[in-house]
Amino acid sequence: MSLVKLTASALAISAMTVTAASARDQVQVAGSSTVLPYASIVAEAFGENFDFPTPVVESGGSSAGLKRFCEGLGENTIDIANASRAIKDTEVAACAEAGVTDIVEVRIGYDGIVFASDINGNSFEFTQEDWYKALAAEIVVDGEVVANPNTTWDQVNPAFPAQPIMAFIPGTKHGTREVFDEKVILVGCEDSGDFEKFVEVKGDEDAAEDACMSIRTDGLSVDIDGDYTETLARIDSNKDGLGVFGLAFYENNTDKLQVATMAGVVPTTESIAEGTYPVSRPLYFYIKAAHIGVIPGLQEFADFFVSDDMAGPDGPLAEYGLVSDPALVETQDAVASATVMMK
């Protein structure tokens, strides 16, 4: 008898839930793990100061977030995608195909990408060229394109110690990787003069760029698909390792990591704001315009995110490591009027 009762109540519960799956009343955010700390700080303050429930913020990487963002419209899709790079044309097209046609792009500020190693290891002063020569799959030696022969840093640049090359770089699903490829590896390729040789050998500039940016796969460079904590753990267990981190993550872990300079500049929020530190990138979030007004609190959350209180130069986001956007006022206007991206 009790079994029958249990089954009946279980069925009743599942029936109830299908009908109860009605309007969602909190904002759903997903995407870049670099933006996640900022988004969670804003979400927490939003929940404290407004009558709306605290938004839900998930991570997973920029590409994964934008993919979920482009799944379509409706309550069981996310409202905001965080990204540590700008949305791509292919993603805009994929969005449009699923009915997500009106997207509001919001730039929240800038973030530096830093190169750090174990606190007790050697110090480095890198240039982009060093990283290119250490990590590219193929480089030009004596006028010939050959598979990268470098295995220690002193082979890359005689000024460095004879430490084996071991780099932990973000996996391809992270927006950080794209910035690393373009602002470090590609720039290094051009600086070294190898770019011209690649153009000569591969035929055109696009193919040469691809050749520059292909990373060696012989185990000296490791793609990290997880978060920066995983990179940190790898460096902890392999003291020769060099890792790619976000500036905010490094600043929270200065007891374990030492940062390398890039092109002679120490990464700080100031040097990134001035533009002297070369490896920085804007951080974005994307809003579905069709969800504004349907999901309660979405407009307010976006306004609050870019308000001077939060994203301004003295706000909690800047305190955590975000480089405040000098053009914040324009962003605030764009968010307030929900200005849709041009296609």
Binding site: L3, L6, T7, S9, A10, I13, S14, T17, V18, A20, A21, R24, Q26, Q28, A30, S33, L36, P37, A39, S40, I41, A43, E44, A45, G47, E48, N49, D51, P53, T54, V56, V57, E58, S59, E71, G74, E75, N76, I78, G226, D227, Y228, T229, A248, F249, E251, N252, N253, T254, D255, D309, P316, E319, Y320
Partner: protein, 449 residues
Amino acid sequence: MSDLSSSQNGAPKNSLLKVDARTKKRNASEARFKAYGIGAIALGLCFLVTLLVSILGNGVPAFKQTFITIPVELTESKLDKSGTRDLEVMKKVTTFGYKPLVENALVAALEKEGIENPFAKAKDLAKLLSSSAPAQVRDVVLDNPNLVGQTVEFRLLAGSRVDGYFKGRVTRDALARDKNLDAAHLDIADAMVAAGMMDTTFNADFVLGADASESRPEQAGIGVSMVGSLFMMIVVLCLSLPIGVAASIYLEEFAPQNKWTDLIEVNISNLAAVPSIVYGILGLAVFIQFAHLPQSAPLVGGLVLTLMTLPTIIISTRASLKAVPPSIRDAALGIGASKMQSVFHHVLPLAMPGILTGTIIGLAQALGETAPLLLIGMVGFIASNMPDGIASGFLDPNSAMPAQIYEWAKRADPAYYERAWGGIIILLGFLMTMNIIAVILRRRFERRW
């Protein structure tokens, strides 16, 4: 009778008293095998001890927290300009309005105690405090507007690095390179402890509280995700126990033996071995994208874990039904009971302890599962609101204990690392309790024939 062994040459060739080479070899191999076994157990114990020591060593500090007790003047001109104590008006003052109030209160408190304060700006000194302090004060004021105008004593959280200093995690050397706190802050902290304004005590909020953002690990607690886990377990129990038991009774007692039931049997065993992340993908496709159930809801988490737990429960239920001797069934049928009566009146009650044990072990497995929850949106900054009712508990976004631990372990601030270990202690506590209950049930009620 002639003595066979001594019949030749007088002395026995093979004596049981004299160990010959072959026996020696056999005895040696037995001794070796025993030594391997003891070695294996010792190695296992060694791992267990290392694990427990590291869990306790890293996690126990998470249960303690540093607090700063200071009087805060709740200035009327700042908090309620209209003077009407109207809540709607007072809500307009955000935590940013409360921030200078708290910062100045800290400066004033240090001055009163005669503690030297080298910081020119109140903002720099306030790095001692958690950034949750303004919100804490604001909540108290909004709950009790009549406090405005008075000076009230508050017990505020200290910042995570100050807390880390008292737990030995943060050293003065490390702070030299840290922009979040200076060594001068630590001098003030030491003086405040001496003056009785700062203390490190047990922190119930770690067990009962909600998740916090990356900038304030000192505020984070596992309470809300514990509730999330509870609601998921309710769903799992209410669905997988009746479905699992009904399926097993049918398969074991009523179903004909043919290739169809064989096929089902094989597939149930296969399902038990399917990696749990596969159930997560299935849950995303079926429950969220097709059935349009809300994302990040414990209900969906529970449904996914039900799928995962069902094979375990079915297999253990069938095993305990099989263990009931056929004579019980024959006796029941022999005195005229129907097949159904024999099952429900005689077989099932005898199999119940085994079924319950299997269920509890299945639940314990589901409680510790993280992978499927990744895909249905239960990992992230989610568990920040306590659900305000039964329906909200099932449907509002929440996390689960293992998912919360995973999320904490990913975060940048080292204070979250400590909290992840603390969470593991709590989760292990639950799992051990459940397994002990299962063992007790088995010991007390199991019958052997």
